[in-house]
Amino acid sequence: MTGVADDVAFSKSEMMIVAAARELAGQRVCFVGVGLPNIAVNLAKRTVAPDMELVYEAGVFGARPARLPLSIGDPTIVTGATAVVSMFELFAFYLQRGLVDVGFLGAAQIDRFGNINTTVIGDYAAPRTRLPGSGGACEIAINARNVFVIMRQSSRSFVERIDFRTSPGNLGGAEQADAIRRAGGWQGRGPSVVVTDLGIWHFDETGEMRLDSLHPGATLDEVRETIAWDPKISPSLSPTPAPTADELRLVREELDPEGIYTK
């Protein structure tokens, strides 16, 4: 437990999920990834973004899940949805056409420019750890208008150099990335925010992530210890407001009653 909201203790993971959900305020169409993004987006739908349309790569637009989907292909995302389409249509007509405002991804490794690895740790041909791979992440990173990332910080995940670039972020910096994205006809502008268990990072004009908000209970030392480069810290760094009682109730009672994501 890292903090207290209205006298209720909460975990780092709960803070991370709540902070990520709040970032979705005002967004219209969100492409939901597997795992932590799934719970964060479903919390946002119940709080700051009730009108947000959820797109699941399984082929669902306008999902209204009655429970937290157990996976991104759960039957609860189908019943009561606006539209169910083939995966070809979902990726071609929704994502590649530029209709998705936010793609919400997890990551195993990320670098300072928001480039992401979810493929392997070690050498591709002889990996130390074989990770899931791209799934839809590669094309989400390219074609979602904005990319949100949610992941726990550690010096093994916030690295100087990712072992494999599965999903492009700001490449070697904003100037290069903007030129390549424009010239190549990508629909996406790249990563907007990285929400971790310690704070909230946005990307500055150079395309590098900068800590803008520090979660209750987290320290800058802790931030620096869990990151492999010397991170930029915003001069106007502010504390992340603690989860409200309502946010915690939704997470604990409705979205993750077994505590799979929030332990």
């Binding site: 669902v60 637009f61 306008g62 009655a66 039957p75 609860t76 189908v78 009561g80 606006t82 539209a83």
Partner: protein, 308 residues
Amino acid sequence: MPGKVTTMRDAVADLVRDGDTVAIEGFTHLIGFSAGHEIIRQRKRDLTLARMTPDVIYDQMIAAGVARKLIFSWLGNPGVGGLNAIRRRIEPASVGDGTALEVEEYSHFGMVARYTAGAANLPFMPLRSYFETDLPAANPLIREIRSPYSEETVYAVPPLNPDVTVVHAQRADVAGNTQVWGLLGCQKEAAFAAERVIVVVEELVDEAVIRADPNRTIIPGLIVDAVVVEPFGAHPSYVQGAYDRDNRFYLDWDPISRDEAATQAWLRDWVYGLDGRAAYVEKLGDAHLASLRPGSAPSGSVDYGTYA
């Protein structure tokens, strides 16, 4: 999402602009006649009209002078003959000193592939057609492309992204979530390819009706700008389950359209002289419309299950 229900007059006034590329699709089924007539009534000009089968609706629109160019794949009055008003703008003997209609021509699959590339935001779509034909010479936008996996060469067509696509459908909700059964044609692709979308429906339904059967949704409200409710808006074409094709009309159009004066008289009587589809329906008369009603053939219901 706020309601998008509006009148045809406002939808066309707001969303169709002179010089636009407009696609009113619907392969025999669900042809947006009421939208086409409103475009005529508002005297839109210099449109590029795209449609696989221009059909009687584009013959009427082109006779009324709204278009400078036609993009198509089959130019005929299905089951009847030619499209005479359009032919008069293409064949030099009848064009005379008038302005010829510019044409850009594909095959059916080429048109479908163009909309698909447009909907998918692809720079081209490959297809196995056009080999050893004169079509690539007639239309230089049909181009060869080499496979990166062999010496094999196929053809490509470029994306078609209309400024406006009009889709007629059985039903939608106020947000524009639209469902169709029966022939689907290329309406989904033409809608996703477009910058703006007008949906015209036989029936406005509650959102719950749409959400009860999400596999039937072909167009999400997300890409829809206006929803117009106009029963019989597809007449003289048909709507699966609602009314039959008015074949008499298609046959009658042939002699009318062979004569320029008769064509213009028809447009006065049935388009300019009426203020919208409701007046057109009234003029057609209840007895005539009743004769087009099919018998009942229910689909049956399936169960999606509740997972709470």
